[in-house]
C-alpha cells in the first residue's frame, strides 16, 4: 500500500512537471490556481477532515495571505519568494487567535463564527485605505522569471506554485501519518477519550486551526500573484464556500482530495458555462448534487472505494459521511 502511494505520488509529480510543455501558457496559468486551491483545501482536510472542525470562513485567510503579499510588494518592494512565506506566517498567527476562540465552539456554532469572519473581511479591507487601497484594491507588478530561466512568466510561476504545493503535500502526509495525525483524529472521533489518553485537545485543535490558516494564507498569496490584483471583491463570501465545496467534493479523508477538489472548483464553473451558457449555475449545482449522491466520500473517497472493491482483501472501510464528523477514521 505504501509503495503504491509513493509510485502514484511520483507519477503525479512527473505529470505536473512536464505538463506545461504540452499546453498553451494560459492553461499553465489556470493550473497555477489549481495549486493554490489545492493548498487551501489541504488545510481544510487537516482541519475538517482530520480534526472535525468546520470552517465556513477560510476565504478570510486567503484574503490575509493575498493582501500580505500584495501590501509587502507594493509598499515595500518585497519580492514574492519572501512575501509567500510571510503570508503564511501572518495568516497562521491570526489563525492561532481565531483557533483559541474556536476552542469554545463546536459544530454549527463554529461554522457560524467562521461564517461571520468571512462576511466581515471585505468591509474590513476597505477601512484601512492607505494600506489596502480601499475598494480599489492593489495592483501588483507581474512576476518575471529570472533571466537565466528561458520560460515565460506563466510557466515560471506555475512551477513556483506547484513546488510549494508538492512540499506542503509531503509535509502534511508525513505529519498526519505520525503522532500529530493520530492525535487530531482521536480528538475528532472522541474528544473525551482522547484527552483521557493524554492527548491535549486544546493544543491540537488550535494547532489544526492555525495549520490550516497557514496553508490558506500561502494559497491566497499564490492566487494573488498571478492575478496581479487584490480587491475586496476578490474575497467575498463565495470564496469561502467555494473552497469548502472543493474540500467536500474532492474528499476530506484523503490528501488526494485536495488535488481533485482543486481541479473541480477551478474547472467546473468554466465547464458549466460551456455546457449551458444561459444557466451555468444550474449545471454547476446539478453536477455537485450528482457527485455527492454517487460519491458521498468525495471524489477521492469514491476512487478509493472503487479501488478497494477490486481488491477485496484490502480493508474496505466505508468513507464516512462528509462534513458530519466521521465516526470511524479510515486508512490513509
Amino acid at each position: 500500500m505504501k509503495t503504491n502511494r509513493l509510485v502514484l505520488f511520483g507519477v503525479v509529480a512527473i505529470v505536473i512537471a512536464i505538463f506545461p510543455a504540452f499546453v498553451p501558457s494560459y492553461v499553465s496559468f489556470e493550473f497555477t490556481y489549481v495549486a493554490a486551491y489545492a493548498i487551501a483545501i489541504l488545510g481544510l482536510i487537516v482541519l475538517t477532515g482530520k480534526n472535525g472542525q468546520i470552517s465556513l470562513g477560510h476565504g478570510a485567510f486567503l484574503a490575509i495571505g493575498g493582501y500580505t503579499v500584495a501590501i509587502l510588494a507594493t509598499k515595500a518592494g518585497v519580492p514574492f519568494w519572501i512575501g509567500i512565506p510571510l503570508a503564511g506566517i501572518v495568516s497562521g498567527i491570526i489563525g492561532i487567535g481565531i483557533g483559541l476562540v474556536a476552542l469554545r465552539l463546536e459544530g454549527v456554532y463554529l461554522a457560524l463564527a467562521t461564517f461571520a469572519m468571512a462576511v466581515s473581511v471585505p468591509s474590513l479591507l476597505k477601512r484601512f485605505t492607505d494600506l489596502t487601497g480601499g475598494s480599489g484594491g492593489l495592483v501588483l507588478d507581474p512576476v518575471t522569471p529570472p533571466s537565466w530561466l528561458p520560460i515565460d512568466s506563466e510557466r515560471f510561476f506555475y512551477y513556483v506554485a506547484w513546488a510549494i504545493a508538492g512540499v506542503l503535500i509531503v509535509f502534511t502526509a508525513v505529519l498526519l501519518e505520525g503522532r500529530v495525525g493520530r492525535a487530531l483524529r482521536a480528538i475528532r472521533d472522541n474528544e473525551v477519550a482522547a484527552s483521557s489518553f493524554g492527548v491535549n485537545p486544546y493544543f491540537y485543535k488550535t494547532l489544526a486551526f492555525s495549520w490550516s490558516a497557514v496553508y490558506a494564507g500561502i494559497a491566497g498569496a499564490l492566487a494573488a500573484i498571478p492575478t496581479a490584483f487584490v480587491s475586496p471583491d476578490t474575497y467575498n463570501f463565495n470564496l469561502s464556500v467555494t473552497v469548502l465545496i472543493g474540500a467536500v467534493l474532492g474528499g476530506l479523508e484523503s490528501l488526494w482530495g485536495a488535488l481533485l477538489g482543486a481541479l473541480v472548483i477551478e474547472f467546473l464553473p468554466l465547464w458549466a458555462q460551456k455546457i449551458n451558457a444561459a444557466a451555468p449555475s444550474v449545471v454547476y449545482g446539478v453536477a455537485l448534487i450528482a457527485v455527492m449522491l454517487t460519491m458521498p466520500g468525495g471524489i477521492a473517497g469514491g476512487l478509493i472505494r472503487l479501488f478497494h472493491r477490486r481488491e477485496p482483501k484490502a480493508d474496505a472501510r466505508a468513507v464516512g459521511p462528509v462534513v458530519a464528523v466521521p465516526v470511524q477514521h479510515s486508512s490513509e
Binding site: 509529480a13 510543455a21 490556481y33 480601499g134 480599489g136 520560460i151 492575478t227 471583491d233
Partner: protein
Amino acid sequence: MVKSTKTAVGIAALAAFALSTVAVTPVRADDGVTPTEIVIGGTDPFSGPASAYSSIGKGSAAYFQYVNDHGGVNGRKITYKNLDDSYSPPQTVQLTRQLVEDDKVFAIFGSLGTGPNTAIRPYLNQKGVPQLFIASGASKWGNEVAQYPWTIGWEPDYESEAVIYARNILKEKPNSKIAIIYQNDDFGNDYLRGLTRGLGSHASMIVKQASYEVTDPDVSSQIASLKASGADTLMIFATPKFAIQSMVATAQQGWKPQIYLSNVSISEAIMHAATKVGGADATNGIISTQFVKDPGDPKNANDPGYKLYKEIMDKYIPTGTLSDGNYLVGMAFAYTMVDVLQRCGKDVTRANVMKMADSLNEVNPFAYPGILVSTSATNHFPMTSAALVRYDNGRFIPTGALIDARAIIKAEK
C-alpha cells in the same frame, strides 16, 4: 519517502530544463478575424452580487445578433463570447486570458465592473489587445490613457457627472449649503473629487459629508447627521439600494433639501420603490443626469433609436423588461463597437481598431439626443456631456441644455 521526494524534485527540475526549448508563441496581431467572422469577448456578472447589471451584456449580445442578421459588418459576422465572472477579479483575469489565448478573440469588449477591468488592464495593454467600451464609469479609464492606451471606457465618468452637478448648483443656487452622502470606495470618491473640482473656489459650500460602506445595513443615521448640519442641498452619490434608503430617510426625517442623485440609481424601478415607501415628496424635484434615451419615457415612442431598441428587444430578448435601461446601454456600447469595426473597412487589425476607437465622432441612436460619442488618441472619455433631468411625478424631465464636463475641467487647466 524522502528519497522519492528527491527523485520527484529531480524530475521536476529536469522537466523545467526541457521546457527551456518551448518557445513563447506571440499573439498574432489579427487573431479572431477571418474573412467571414470577427470574434470578440468579454465578461459579465451573470451570477453573484452584481448580476442585476448583466442585462448590459445581454443588450450588447442582442444588438450584435441584430447586426449579423442584417448582413454583419462589411460581410463579417460578429461572434461575441460573453462569459460569467461573478464580479470576481481573479475569475475575470482567467477568463480574459482564456478568451485571448484560447478563443483567440480579436478584442475584449464591454467587460463589466471597475475591479474586474482594473485587474485585466495591464495584461491586455501588454499584449496589445484592445479593451474597448468598458461598462464602468470610473474616471481612470480616461485619466490614465497615457499609461494604458489600449483601454477605453464609454459612459460619462462619475467625476464628470459630479462636475455637472456642481456647475448647476453654482448657477441655480450659489448660496447653497451642500451635504453629501457617498459610498466609501472608488465610485464615491470619483464623485467627491468631481464635485470639489466643479465647485472650484466655492468648495467651502460643502458643509458636511458622510460615507457608508456597501456592507452597511442602513444609512438613516448618516442622513440624520447631514440634516443636523443645516444643509439645504443633498448630494446622493450612492448605488441603488443606498440611494433608495437615502431618499426615504430624508423624507421620513422631514428634511426637504434639493437632492442631486447619481445617474447609476435613477432607473424606473428604483424611483418607484423610493416613491412607494417615502411618498411623492421623497422623489419629486430630484435632479440627476441622463446620457442615453430613457426607454420608459412615452415621449420616446416615435424616436428612431427607441424603435430600434424595441424591435431588437422584441425579437431577441422577448422576456426582458423594456423599461430596464441597462439593455439599452448595452446596445449603445455595441453600436459604437460596430461603428468602429465598420470604419476599419478591410483593415481589421487591432492597431487599426484602436485608431478608429481613438477617432470617434459618432451620433449614437441610443444616446441622449445631442450627445456625441467622440474621442482622440489622448482623449479616452468618449462621452463627456450629459443632460440634467428633474424627477416629476414618475418621470425624469429634461431641464435644459447639455453640459460638457470635460470641457469645463479642461478650461480650468
